[in-house]
Symmetry: C2
Amino acid sequence: MLTTPSDRALVPFVSVENMLALVHRRGLDRCLREITDYIAEDFARWNLFDKTPRVASHSPIGVIELMPTSDGTQYAFKFVNGHPANTKHGLQTVTAFGVLADVGTGYPKLFSEMTLLTALRTAATSALATRTLAPKGAQTVAIIGNGAQSEFQIRALAAVCGFTAFRLYDIDAAATGRCAGNLLALGLSLTACGSVEEAVEGAEVITTCTADKRYQTILTDNLVGAGVHVNAIGGDCPGKTELHRDILLRASVFVEYTEQTRIEGDIQQLDPKHPVTELHDVLAGKAAGRTDAGQITVFDGVGFAIEDFSALRWLADRVSEDAPSDQLDLITDPDDPRDLYGMLLRYAQHTSTNIG
Amino acid sequence: MLTTPSDRALVPFVSVENMLALVHRRGLDRCLREITDYIAEDFARWNLFDKTPRVASHSPIGVIELMPTSDGTQYAFKFVNGHPANTKHGLQTVTAFGVLADVGTGYPKLFSEMTLLTALRTAATSALATRTLAPKGAQTVAIIGNGAQSEFQIRALAAVCGFTAFRLYDIDAAATGRCAGNLLALGLSLTACGSVEEAVEGAEVITTCTADKRYQTILTDNLVGAGVHVNAIGGDCPGKTELHRDILLRASVFVEYTEQTRIEGDIQQLDPKHPVTELHDVLAGKAAGRTDAGQITVFDGVGFAIEDFSALRWLADRVSEDAPSDQLDLITDPDDPRDLYGMLLRYAQHTSTNIG
């Protein structure tokens, strides 16, 4: 580098390596509990946020989305893709990165990988919904779909809600084997099941986290008994659902942000006026959650920008402590802020040539 | 770094330093001409693009915007702020960065500073509009507003359209002095003027590029004579305009993307049905540009996502040649793409500790 950028030019960057190191040093359980708390805090001040459905660019084989939000003091957005066919080419279905910025100046404060961070916040959000809505005394969780998100869901349900028994099913038995193998050392009870029917047997909580980009019926109506709480995580874009609509019609449905979930969630199968409850209203005591033991509750989770905001806010707090980060020379910092051209000119002079 | 990220994990990053080096090595004139050509090429295939007005988050003192677009093969977005009070604190009014991504996989291909790149593409777009709409034989340009964008406007009008005479005015004479001083070595005729009236005297082209975030009348009706071409660049968000509406009513108005310009441009002062022409239609021969020598033409430029797409496409082509870039460890790349947790687990094993 020919010149040294000023502090104002530099933006902290949490690389994949930095994120792995942070989670590893801090402990995954602690990270998941903290992110759950940050999300709960931000959900509690829901009305402060500038909310908008994500901005999606669809193609025949996938989607690229931008998810912005702001609480009036900080602004965050995430870039995230969803390309189910990617795994055939050794690439991931979902990758993400994001930025936290200062509303007062518009300057970015933190740039981060968010593939791992999204996995953490998605699991934390499910745990928050489960802690809020699951029946009292629930002990067993069925995890339907044992892909990239499944271990994080299990770790969060264990760390935040205290579950220790998990029944796993995937159409690909190798995925189930990988999931169980990865979690082997933790002392959890993990049961590999041969069918959805078998997996949901005795489970008070069912989490569906499958990845196909089309209408699926992962859970048929007969598989969901009285009193069960369902986290439907994988139905998260137009044309992609997991639950038979009859389950939704029998259940109390909880969502993050109604306007977005009507488009993207399992409730896209229902009439646009079908009553749903926003989770933050339950957390704030403004709406009822589970009201009786026989009620079926469904958290139709699609992932909302405020959760990414919370995750980035958590990360920025860690970086301002001692979490590892790099510095990106991202922002021009001319001596006189109105003299951008002069910065270019002086760079040229500095290097003894001209800018033609 | 404890592990070496794979190639798939790395995204080329053009830092401020890299961008300065690129422009300096390649020559600013050549860069501006090339970016003008890339924008003209993309405007010529306008219908291929997924177009949406930018997604703005307004606060009392500024705005943060995301500007996405895609041609079905590549996707680009820019993050850009606008905070006029920033200069009081030594910060810039506008900073930006952006990403080019592959629509087929959703993976980012290039991450770049875009404060400098936006200055280049904004100037290139004005030059493209001027080349298309200015009266034949025009020789003199008035530049009203001599802030951070002004030298780039002048360089692009000189490099792309061949103008050599510029008449400068700013309410802050120091800004005019800085602008003229920065351009002194180029052999252009630069005249510092004491008023807007003086600056527009004899000018066949007038470019307004002021920065105040409020309704202004930089150009009153009597100052714009027959046959003049106006680039109104600074009226670019709701509540921010530069031209008296009577000028617009007498002129033929050209815009980038009507839906966005109705909200952000000088034409926000007009009836939403007032006829305007999109510049790309003129370039494609589908609409008339200047039809007679006495006609006033106004390019109501607000900056559109396709121009950023073009600029990033230009930059990616330079990086794939030999332009300087760094590598960001931005994308997780697990051995098995569905085994994100395993990547975290193995990182922990690799470092001989556990992930809690």
